[in-house]
Symmetry: C3
Subunit: 343 residues, 3 copies
Amino acid sequence: MQVAYTPAEIAAMVGAQRSVGTTAQTIRDIASLTAARAGDLSFLGNAKYRSQVAGSAASVLLLPLDYVGEPRPDQVLLFVENPSVALARVCARIAQALWPKPAPGIHPSAVVAATARIHATAHVGPLCVVEDGVTIGPGSLLQASVFVGRDARIGEGCWVMPGCVIAAGCSLANRVQLQPGVVIGADGFGYEFVKGRHEKIPQIGVVAIEDDVEIGANSTIDRARFSRTVVGEGTKIDNLVQVAHNVVIGKHCILCSQVGISGSTTLEDYVILGGQAGVGGHITLGKGTKAGGRAGIATSTEPGSYLNGNPAIPYMLERRIAVLQQRLPDLFKRVAALEKAPE
Amino acid sequence: MQVAYTPAEIAAMVGAQRSVGTTAQTIRDIASLTAARAGDLSFLGNAKYRSQVAGSAASVLLLPLDYVGEPRPDQVLLFVENPSVALARVCARIAQALWPKPAPGIHPSAVVAATARIHATAHVGPLCVVEDGVTIGPGSLLQASVFVGRDARIGEGCWVMPGCVIAAGCSLANRVQLQPGVVIGADGFGYEFVKGRHEKIPQIGVVAIEDDVEIGANSTIDRARFSRTVVGEGTKIDNLVQVAHNVVIGKHCILCSQVGISGSTTLEDYVILGGQAGVGGHITLGKGTKAGGRAGIATSTEPGSYLNGNPAIPYMLERRIAVLQQRLPDLFKRVAALEKAPE
Amino acid sequence: MQVAYTPAEIAAMVGAQRSVGTTAQTIRDIASLTAARAGDLSFLGNAKYRSQVAGSAASVLLLPLDYVGEPRPDQVLLFVENPSVALARVCARIAQALWPKPAPGIHPSAVVAATARIHATAHVGPLCVVEDGVTIGPGSLLQASVFVGRDARIGEGCWVMPGCVIAAGCSLANRVQLQPGVVIGADGFGYEFVKGRHEKIPQIGVVAIEDDVEIGANSTIDRARFSRTVVGEGTKIDNLVQVAHNVVIGKHCILCSQVGISGSTTLEDYVILGGQAGVGGHITLGKGTKAGGRAGIATSTEPGSYLNGNPAIPYMLERRIAVLQQRLPDLFKRVAALEKAPE
């Protein structure tokens, strides 16, 4: 962060009710109570860390109104209703400073087809390529080196970061955020085995990304064989995730990093998949299904399932079996002893 | 898809032998029998879905000659020799509309070295970088923002999608397709541990991609330490796959998404690896070896092996053990009961 | 490789003490003793392959001084102190030829903000984007189509390959190498669940990459929620690796391909993680912890731990249990037999 705020500026930002102490420092970073050093802002977000406040070297501390204690030398205590909310305000301010909204318009280095319809309030950054028939809605931002293929549609308030590819015919609804390097609409992986060779099955469907979806860096969402691959409203996808063709992901799901979803599978709303989990093809994960990191799910699940392991089984059973597996050497010994026992 | 075909156009495309019914709709999408709505084309590709035809809301249906039934109002039935083949023809036509072949030539925004030899029928799209000594063959297409490093060679009829990197000295043979974001020829991962530090072992080999290979979005194929990393003719690789240095992949293999192959390993022809499978280094997978998703293969395999699990073992054994593992809590109880039994 | 060296040039490069035989070939590639063909250089790097020398078809062979044998027709034997060191010299020469250092300066097609400070000896290649407030140090090289966001800092002698993204505020220290497609500083994956929706937690920290780090193709290192995600000096990261927000990686670690590290986890120095391993969040892996490929580590480890499996357990125990698991069918039978035994 390239920011510098005085304690008074922080106090104003968070609406501090009371301020104690003084410091010559300006705030340039945020850190936890124990990690903070001079020039850092810290906060007491959870009562269980209360004992760490007195020892914190932060220059400014956000504390709840009921906190009792004195500042160290060269330290300011700011008392607020809710330190976590106060911190969020500071973060939002810093976020604005870090990522100022660029002015509307098309950068002269961008290559934009004459038939593309780009809203006057949208921004097409340097070295983007926008092909024929594309539409880009109000306030949307293509940061730099973004490719948008023929007839793709981008709604309002989207933010597409550098190096993303949105292939022909695919769509982002509104307020979608793509982190750098995301690929929307690569061909689905479909072949037919004919006379010793894999013949490609044309992949002519599209990808539809609904409102308020965010997708992490270098993740890939494949176009459908036909019809649509869908990522539902409000779903959040982490980095390096693979979503295969014709997958339909419901609303408000969470897919952690390196998850893979095989073709034609459906995730109902509120599914949560831990990092590196894998889901087989042509199945349905019921609403609210939750799976631990590295789970391997090959069959459909009931709503509310909580799974772990590979193959994934109910979470508590998996945890129990994991413990028993470590006792296998002992079990083999016990069985051998029984076999040797005189009858 | 931004297409619109009249039923008569569809009938002509597929060579329909008979047409029954009428519709005012134009066809804008393709869907399965049950998912189809007005404006969709659907088809009976498999006799087991025959009962779904009568209820389908598709505006046009491709049906086998022996199908008996009447169209719904505002619906056209087209009778053809083979509905799947007919559908493939429609898809191929749509694919042409979706991805029209751009005109030959070099886009003015591309940065192309004077010594690059680019065939007159090739297309170098906007914002590509082509370095010294590169050759690009007849009909090949670099779509946009593609990087081709010094002395790399691209054969005939290749299609390299936006954001791909083909590093110095690497080669694509003919009709190779790279989906967006593929990296061919990053350095192999090789270090020597010297006095507490990892010293880089120069990676001066190349990558050779043979005819008719396709590689999925954001996959990475590393250059060899020396000599060549090879992806054999007709092999298809899905998204986010890692192929390490000096790996040699045979002909007509299938590597599903997120597979990783460690260095110096050989895959003989027709190997198939399920999603997220991992293969150790310096081993050989025999011809036609097949492994399930998430399999972890650490040792060489015989031709025709069928493996699953981690560590991978023969498929049927793994399936059986997976079932027995879930009965471990019971087994522990049974052994405890035996131990308590009076003798 | 597009190189061609005469045997005399190779002899000079490696400081050969003695040369026997002649060949009309020029050296165009390097290969192992058994794989080498005419035009190849090979070497005896390990005494155990001594018997392979006589049968090697290499045109030039690097051999230790004490090797006794005659060249084949059209073959040159070069005797050197240490054939591995000699080979490394040839490789280094080839590396220079393969990747010539481009001239300092900013390519006219790059889009560079007026406020960016780029050292006179640095190179900003074609179609790069460098935003406001960026600093780039002496001798650093942005190869092509690299994005460097506001206020990011790049030290001396770095090499950033095509298509990399270094987002706002992040830093590379000195001699850092990023392979193509690396994303430094995508947002961390943090949401709060509020009234049925996932609300984004602003990610306003940065990423700090220390000296001599190398990161593989398409890997992603997320920015911190606040403060810094750190990759320590001399650490080497392979392709398609995910490092989440607020992770702190120590010095001289090795992360093989497709590893994933969850948020706020610390790796102390000299940690080594095999391919596709996963590490949970908010834990610490002690100095020198080593884990096998595909290990799943959910809890903190002691320094010097050696783990395998998922969930990861001590390596030798895991190997033993893996064997016993394959004997589970037998164990179930044995227990059934005991249960049936007359008492």
